[in-house]
Structures are given as structure tokens and as C-alpha cells.
Symmetry: none
DNA sequence: TTGAATCTGACCTTCTCTGACCAATATTAT
DNA sequence: ATAATATTGGTCAGAGAAGGTCAGATTCAA
């Protein structure tokens, strides 16, 4: 009944549960070997079942003794991230609201201080007003930028 | 899991930490001997892990009693960024040019991949075109956003 | 039956490591 | 002094070892 992807997912989750720090390291080839499948199957599983949206982070290194690291980001963080994305995608926050969101993301360590700094600058109203955009355009643009940036950041691989 | 390069990097960093003045001197052969590898491996490590972009400076002297000096430097990144910014500020780069600049900064490790992703999104032309801005406004805005974001990043503390 | 999820394989990129050969500098012999 | 030699470090191409990507085949479920 369950398929290969399910088994691999289950296996990884067990490993994570056994790990002390919510973080495991695997070799793609080895793991694939353990399930007698092609290595890229592992990528598929990671993409589908261990995405940021589901509360996981994946990092990897190529080359000799390369590996794949899988982190569980704490449930709170994951929830906040989802909220933020949904929120931000619904509709136009004013610049103060956006600023608060960014601040919160930084506090929750979803983004770094530098990333927050960039986002604050590019979603601040000063830039747009100085250019003679009307308020509607300005809000729309900030909103758009924020959304796009967030989408980029939660993409697998980032 | 760590590989030879990691070990050598770690060793050098420990030495640096122990040094009083953020500067150490090593013999390439000796160091290679300590890790049972070929001498050029040391060059590889220095190139990959102790680049200026990562905040290090390497000097060497050949010949009898030659040696390699490794310094930890501060503020070098800021200098590189300053130059880039000045260039970008003088010449109003188009979106492709900006993209290349961002790419280069990422390659040089001045900004992270995530930071690069944000910058690429916010300076890409797609966002502005969809909003019906005329080309001049669009260019001006991208330019401004890029400048502001970078200025923020090189502020002390970032 | 049809569209989404799963799975495979061919090909690609990145990182590491080695070895042969090159370049520079100090030391020693003449 | 000058030339020869020894001692260092530098460069580069290539092999090998991971992991990544993507299109297409297959399977599954509505």
C-alpha cells in the first residue's frame, strides 16, 4: 500500500526522532541503496516531504564526502512561516505592518538580520514616495516585492 | 564526514585563534606532512577557505626558508562592496547588468545565496513591468532599491 | 480515463585531491 | 661576484566522488 516515497519519508523521520538535535546527515547514495532505488529518488522525497512548508530544511554539499543534511525546524517556526506567507499573500499591508512582519520573522530566525535589513529597505515607503508614485501604486509594489521575495526564500534549496 | 579540506581549515583557524595578532606563518610542506597529503592540497584549502571574500589574506615567499602567512582581515568585504556600489551608483545599470553584479557578489561570498535571491527579485524587471510603470521610472526605482539595500548591508554591524 | 504522484536514467555541476611541471629565492661552491 | 644547487611555494589539468536536474515512463486514484 504505502509506496517507496512513504517508506523513505518514514525512515528519515524516524532518524530525526532518534537524533538529539533534530538534524540528521545522510549520504544520498547510501540511502538510495538502502531502499534499492535510484539516487534521484531521494531528491524527490526531500522535495515532496521535507519542504520548508512542511517544517523542514535541507542542505547539501557536493563532491568528495558530500552529504545531505535534514533539519526539522521547530513547529512554532513552521507555523509562523506559513502564517506569514498566507497573510502576506492575502493583501496589502501598509508599510508599518510589513515592518512588523519582517521584524517578527527575524526574531523567529526565519530570516537573518541581513535579510531582514534588505527586506525593510525594499519595502519601506521612503523609496517609492521619493519617486512620485501614487500611494496605491506604492502599496501594491511593496506588497508584490515582499511576496516574491518570500516565495523565493521558501523555495526548496533556499 | 568532514573531509581533509575541512580538517586543514579547522586546524588553521585554531592556530589563528591562538595567535595573538590574527596572523600565522606555516610551511607548506610541513602542514601537508601533518595531514599526509600532497603540498598543493594546502593551496587548495587556502584558495577555497581563506579567500579575501571570506575575510582572509594569504601571502607567501618561495625559496629557502620560504613560508606562507595567513592573516585574518576585517573590513575588506566592506571595501569591495563599497567599490561595487560606487560603480553601480555612478552608472545606472540596467536589470541584466544588476543581475550580473548580484551574481558576482554572491560568487565572491559578499552576500549569501538567499540575499542574492532577494536582491534579484527586487531588482528584476518583472515586478515593475506588471505594474505599468514606464521604463524610466522602472530603471530609476530598481537602481534606488539596489543602492539602498547595499548601503544597508555594509553598515557597521551587518 | 485522465491528471497527479511517483519513479527511473541520462546527463550536469560542484567539490576534493593528486601529481607533474613551473617559478622564485636562499645557500653554497668556484 | 657569479654560477650551480637546493629548497620552497605556485599552477594547472585531470580523475574521482558526491549531489542536482529534468524529461519521460509508470503507477495510482478520482
Amino acid at each position: 500500500m504505502p509506496n517507496l516515497t512513504d517508506y523513505i519519508e518514514e525512515y528519515i523521520k524516524k532518524m530525526l526522532a532518534l537524533s538529539s538535535d533534530q538534524c540528521i546527515e545522510v549520504k544520498r547514495r547510501e540511502l538510495a541503496g538502502k531502499f534499492s532505488c535510484v539516487p534521484s529518488q531521494i531528491n524527490y522525497v526531500l522535495e515532496r516531504r521535507f519542504s520548508p512548508e512542511r517544517g523542514y530544511l535541507v542542505e547539501s554539499r557536493r563532491g568528495g564526502s558530500g552529504c545531505i543534511k535534514i533539519y526539522r525546524i521547530n513547529g512554532e517556526q513552521a507555523k509562523i512561516l506559513q502564517e506569514l506567507i498566507e497573510d502576506a499573500c492575502k493583501n496589502s499591508y501598509d508599510s508599518e505592518r510589513l515592518r512588523q512582519l519582517i521584524e517578527r520573522m527575524r526574531e523567529e530566525k526565519i530570516i537573518s538580520r541581513r535579510e531582514a535589513a534588505i527586506l525593510e529597505v525594499v519595502t519601506g515607503k521612503d523609496i517609492y514616495e521619493a519617486l512620485g508614485l501614487n500611494p496605491e501604486q506604492s502599496i501594491e509594489l511593496r506588497h508584490r516585492i515582499f511576496k516574491e521575495a518570500l516565495h523565493k526564500l521558501i523555495k526548496p534549496g533556499y
